[in-house]
């Protein structure tokens, strides 16, 4: 009996030593499934098992916050959207990663500075490792730009050739021209209040030379550039966009573009392979191309890996993060369709052979600008998004909407202790 007991104790000890199980909450998207396919290899190499709980994006924040507030988190590492990249560190929920970096020799130099700025550092401390990039650019129909009748008509009307727009005015004019002459909407727009219209409008703001904050952190949204951006945004959504654009979200704009119903959309760069898929979008595949947003700088977006302070398995979690972000694994993920954040993945010959447009994507990511990242970024989207929607739907004049958005953002910065 004693012998059996001793054997059981030894077996239990072995199981505990080997049986570290890491749990994480992940968005239910193809990217997660790509990583999931590689997990058995990580387990084989390290003996650490990784389990993903997959949910829709909308359910993630609330579930994460509940775990982060608990004495011990049910998740050992996190996938952090840039919208929470200010909130989570500000709340003190994330583990600073520099000590892990030093101990393991993990190299940050392959990452784009724009990505590290977005989902890496918060107020000078490294809390996240960039995981996924969704910077925004201009997706357009190259077949429509090449159509002879449209080229002739454009030359007659504007005394210049039909070409890709360089400025915001040129883009909106082109969108309106296509809406009037090409039998499609000029732009598939996501005007739904909140994240959709805030992200879309921010591209207009940057393209017009405006910004949310100046170098000293003061709000400068209510400026002549802001007014120009919001006027052109409202004009495009009313005259150039598809029907229902004021209540449309990303899925709606994808559907419109996929069915060949629009000339362009300002959207996330990873949309290109989705639209270029002949099985999924026969009316768009082979006819779409990608370029940086008008003005050159689109909005930056992305996810980062992080370790919660209340994780019970921090070392093992770091082991997983450094493995999944290693050069070889990132390349493998990229070849399966991942949107990487490392330069070496974008410049890899094998990757470029499979996805030639990654060259454009790299330009988009390298030049992308971030919106203010702080504790109340998500609320900022809601407050500014409300005013954009009010202006775009004609319920408020542009100047007033900008003033109110400006005031709202200032209030949030003050609440976060970033303004006095």
């Amino acid at each position: 009996m004693k012998r059996i007991f001793a054997v059981l104790v030894v077996l239990l000890g072995l199981a505990l030593a080997q049986g570290v199980v890491l749990r994480a909450l992940m968005e239910d998207v193809p990217e997660t499934r790509i990583i999931e396919e590689l997990l058995p290899r990580f387990e084989k190499e390290t003996g650490i098992r990784v389990e993903f709980e997959k949910v829709q994006y909308a359910a993630m924040h609330d579930k994460l916050v509940a775990q982060l507030l608990a004495p011990q988190s049910g998740y050992d590492f996190l996938q952090v959207d840039f919208l929470w990249a200010g909130e989570f560190p500000a709340a003190g929920w994330l583990e600073p990663l520099e000590p892990y970096l030093k101990a393991s020799g993990f190299d940050l130099s392959p990452y784009y500075p724009s990505m590290l700025d977005l989902v890496g550092y918060y107020q000078g401390t490294l809390y996240m490792i960039p995981m996924y990039s969704y910077a925004m650019g201009l997706l357009y129909r190259k077949d429509l730009l090449a159509r002879k009748d449209l080229q002739d008509r454009h030359r007659t009307q504007f005394k210049k050739p039909l070409a890709l727009p360089k400025t915001l005015e040129e883009y909106v004019n082109l969108s309106l021209f296509m809406a009037r002459n090409a039998g499609v909407a000029g732009a598939a727009m996501q005007g739904q209040r909140g994240d959709p219209n805030f992200m879309e409008f921010s591209n207009y703001l940057f393209a017009a030379g405006g910004d949310y904050l100046d170098k000293n952190g003061r709000v400068i949204l209510n400026s002549s550039q802001g007014e120009k951006a919001l006027s052109l945004y409202a004009r495009n959504i009313r005259q150039g966009a598809q029907k229902g654009a004021l209540n449309a979200n990303l899925d709606d704009t994808f559907r419109v573009m996929c069915q060949g119903g629009a000339f362009s959309m300002i959207t996330y760069w990873w949309m290109l392979p989705q639209l270029d898929d002949a099985k999924q979008c026969p009316k768009a595949a082979g006819r779409v191309a990608l370029s940086p947003a008008p003005g050159g700088a689109g909005v930056n977006g992305g996810w980062g890996w992080a370790i919660p302070k209340n994780s019970a398995n921090k070392e093992a979690a770091w082991r997983f993060i450094s493995w999944v972000e290693s050069k070889a694994i990132v390349k493998e993920r990229t070849l399966k369709g991942h949107a990487p954040t490392r330069k070496d993945a974008f410049r890899d010959p094998e990757v470029l052979k499979k996805y030639p447009y990654y060259k454009e994507a790299e330009r988009i990511i390298a030049g992308a600008k971030k919106v203010p990242i702080f504790a109340y970024t998500a609320e900022m989207e809601d407050v500014v998004g409300r005013e954009i929607s009010l202006a775009a739907s004609g319920q408020k004049v542009i100047k007033q909407a900008l003033q109110d958005a400006d005031k709202g953002l200032e209030g949030l910065l003050r609440k976060a202790g970033l303004l006095r």
């Binding site: 005007g191 739904q192 209040r193 209540n247 409300r386 004609g394």
Partner: protein
């Protein structure tokens, strides 16, 4: 006395569970509403009624309250009027009664999120059948029609519940007063409004209470169909409070607003009960 003691003993486990799952969260939320607790500032200080006063000074909260009052009036009014009509129809001798019952009950069986997704496609300005029939009209993207459209979708779902409850009420009415009315020469219209409806009034008031409480809490449809837009045309109060808590991370402010809403609901329910006891 002994019987009463046994009854209390038997009810005690249930009451304790109720206290745990309803009473404690309510008390905790009340405590939060008197503090300045946020997800980022967990060492909260007592601020008295400060968060309540802030709620009254928040123009967007007041706007959401006003909008919700209008929304409740439309949805409760419509679902009761249509429910009554359907109940009266189902009370007649109809062929295929089972099928009619099934068809009327169907919306009630679908989760509100499912209802939202179904109607999102029906109302879609480019793909939806309703938009096609109305010449591509953008019902949800137009600030002038968005709230009414949302209310109609909600009423479509709620009407099955009100119809079935009113039908149950109609079936249990005594036949004698109605027969007497007919003997006295009343027309079917007169018999319905002078005899049937007054007898049905207690059920009707119960439905007014239940529907009002349910509609004040409307959140799912707004989330799926409009996210409170365009602008703030459909920014109902429950959705506003949700955002206050989870986007603004302001749990104490959201608790204060939740309590104000609870207070308003209780006042309304109290008024309705008065109507009910009179009925």
């Amino acid at each position: 006395m002994r019987g009463r003691g046994t009854g209390l003993t038997l009810a005690l486990p249930g009451l304790l569970v109720l206290l745990g799952v309803v009473g404690l969260p309510l008390l905790y939320a009340f405590r939060l509403s008197l503090s300045d607790y946020t997800f980022l500032k967990r060492e909260a200080a007592f601020v008295g009624l400060g968060r309540y006063l802030e709620a009254f000074q928040d123009p967007y909260f007041l706007h959401a309250l006003g909008l919700t009052a209008l929304y409740v009036a439309i949805t409760v009014g419509l679902s009761l009027a249509l429910g009554l009509l359907l109940a009266v129809l189902l009370h007649q001798r109809l062929p295929l009664k089972g099928f009619h019952y099934f068809a009327v009950s169907l919306p009630m069986l679908i989760a509100p999120v499912g209802v939202g997704l179904i109607w999102k496609m029906i109302l879609h300005p480019e793909l939806g059948i309703l938009a096609y029939l109305f010449g591509g009209r953008d019902f949800l993207g137009n600030p002038g029609s968005a709230l009414l459209t949302l209310a109609l979708v909600d009423a479509w779902q709620q009407v099955s519940f009100t119809a079935l409850v009113l039908l149950a009420g109609l079936r249990n009415l005594p036949r004698e007063p109605l027969e007497a009315a007919y003997v006295d020469g009343a027309s079917p219209w007169q018999a319905f409004w002078r005899v049937t409806f007054p007898l049905l009034l207690p059920v009707f008031w119960i439905l007014v209470v239940l529907q009002t409480v349910a509609e004040i809490r409307t959140y799912d449809l707004v989330y799926v169909l409009t996210r409170g837009g365009p602008g703030s045309a459909t920014d109902l109060v429950s959705y506003y409070i949700y955002r206050k808590a989870f986007l603004g991370l302001d749990l104490s402010g959201a608790s204060a607003m939740g309590y104000l809403l609870l207070l308003l609901t209780l006042i309304l329910v109290g008024l309705y009960y008065r109507g009910l006891t009179r009925a």
